[in-house]
Symmetry: C2
Subunit: 279 residues, 2 copies
């Protein structure tokens, strides 16, 4: 299911993008993936906030929030299936040799079967170096760390590298031996009654699903910490999770070939906390 | 002027790409830009070699070299203007929800007036940190350093950052204070009768134009060195150039706000050497 930002519904199997679109030629654009459950988008506000922040980091015109909200409704209402949908919002700089207009659309997609399985069974992950030091981030806005851009070739290559080692996921690490994030997810570590993740100042995206989980956990009396996390803490955690819109709260079962501590009760508790945000 | 890899000539102003093309959604593809002068492509062999290397780094199917050579001929023969053309070759992983086929096309474009002016007048450049250490490169193929991918958002952001400071170009630097490359060009330093550039093992692209210049210079008795270069050597050089297909051999006139040594004779000599490859 596809709609352009003006609300026009189009056939997603037909071509609608010019070859000189800078989103294609230069990966020069931003995106979001919103989970829709039974017709209700989750965390749409935080997703649109992040879309606006990413756009600002790329010097793109400020997204028209009301138009994005409308086009999301259009795709959701056109979606034939009950249950879940991934709603992808894409905003590019537009054709290089066009009239100067940007390209914006919303695309509804089914959740991949592998993601649905992973939510239940967990995933094997490998740590891979991302090649930068968090101390470089504040002074180097051109590195776009923390912007959710269309330039995801490295994220995809990391996933293929993991797959070649029999793993489904990656946790990127920084040059200072701290945890970063997954290529398309947020790392969450649990120890006792404390949830931890990495701050955007380390060069990671602020996770919308992780944000929802932390909100719910705080209300339920958990401690949450957003702070730099040494890589060694992954092994020492009671549990490690990857959070994202399509993953929800997926457990890391194996890290770098080593089985991590398992706690079905803990996983169930965090899932319930996350879901309680939408009850 | 646009042709798909099968030779079909299409209107470049019409849409031909699906919204779910992974080249668009993930910057998951590779490209080359070939200079065509009076109907003759320059360095086509090295460009197609590099396209194949980039594709291999992204685990894309090996490009069909004969088909790429044919489609280049098609676009060149359809191009109405004499003089110069930039011929862009684009190869993506194709639609995520398609029949598994990749997307490949060749697009002929005019050379931007700003590039033509820069070849004569030179450019102001700024050095910007690229955020990795060359020693990380060999063990981290997922970082795709040395692959010419469509994920160029950082390259484009660096260019905008330079423009905001009144500069036209960027020279990226590594965490170990060595020179890397421009966002879309190769850095060449001259001292005495020696030309120097940075090795691909530092995480830069092997430059096709730089390669042609070095070949010609070696024949004319120059010394050429491909080695790590400290950033401080940029200031100490007799001249610094940015080489690329559309730039040819463009001089860096100002670096980080400081006027560099000027030598019109040297610039003319290097231009003549480069052009001698195609005489």
């Amino acid at each position: 299911m596809l709609a352009m930002l003006d609300g026009t519904v189009l056939d997603p199997d037909a071509p609608h993008i010019r070859v000189d679109d800078l989103g294609l030629l230069r990966g020069d654009g931003v995106f979001e993936t919103v989970l829709v459950v039974d017709g209700k988008p989750r965390e749409l506000g935080p997703h649109l906030d992040r879309l606006a922040r990413s756009a600002a980091m790329l010097d793109l015109p400020e997204p028209d929030r009301a138009a994005w909200e409308r086009v999301c409704s259009v795709v959701i209402s056109e979606w034939p299936a009950a249950g879940e949908m991934a709603l992808k919002l894409v905003y590019t700089r537009g054709p290089e040799f066009g009239d100067g207009s940007t390209t914006s659309f919303a695309l509804g997609l089914p959740i991949a079967a592998s993601q649905l399985r992973a939510r239940v069974s967990g995933v094997a992950a490998v740590t891979l170096a991302r090649g930068f030091d968090p101390s470089d981030v504040p002074g180097a806005p051109w590195l776009l760390l923390g912007a959710k851009t269309l330039s995801y070739a490295v994220n995809m290559a990391a996933g293929r590298h993991a797959a070649a080692q029999g793993a489904e996921e990656v946790i990127f690490t920084a040059a200072d031996d701290t945890v970063l994030e997954g290529p398309t997810s947020t790392a969450v570590l649990v120890r006792g009654r404390t949830l931890r993740t990495v701050p955007p100042s380390s060069g990671v995206l602020a996770g919308t699903t992780q944000g929802a989980l932390f909100r719910a956990a705080e209300r339920a009396g958990w401690t949450t910490k957003v702070e730099p996390i040494p890589v060694a803490d992954l092994r020492a955690a009671d549990a490690v999770f990857l959070a994202s819109s399509v993953r929800k709260i997926t457990r890391v079962r194996v890290l770098d070939g080593v089985e991590l501590a398992a706690s079905p009760e803990l996983h169930a508790e965090l899932n319930a906390l996350y879901e309680s945000e939408y009850a």
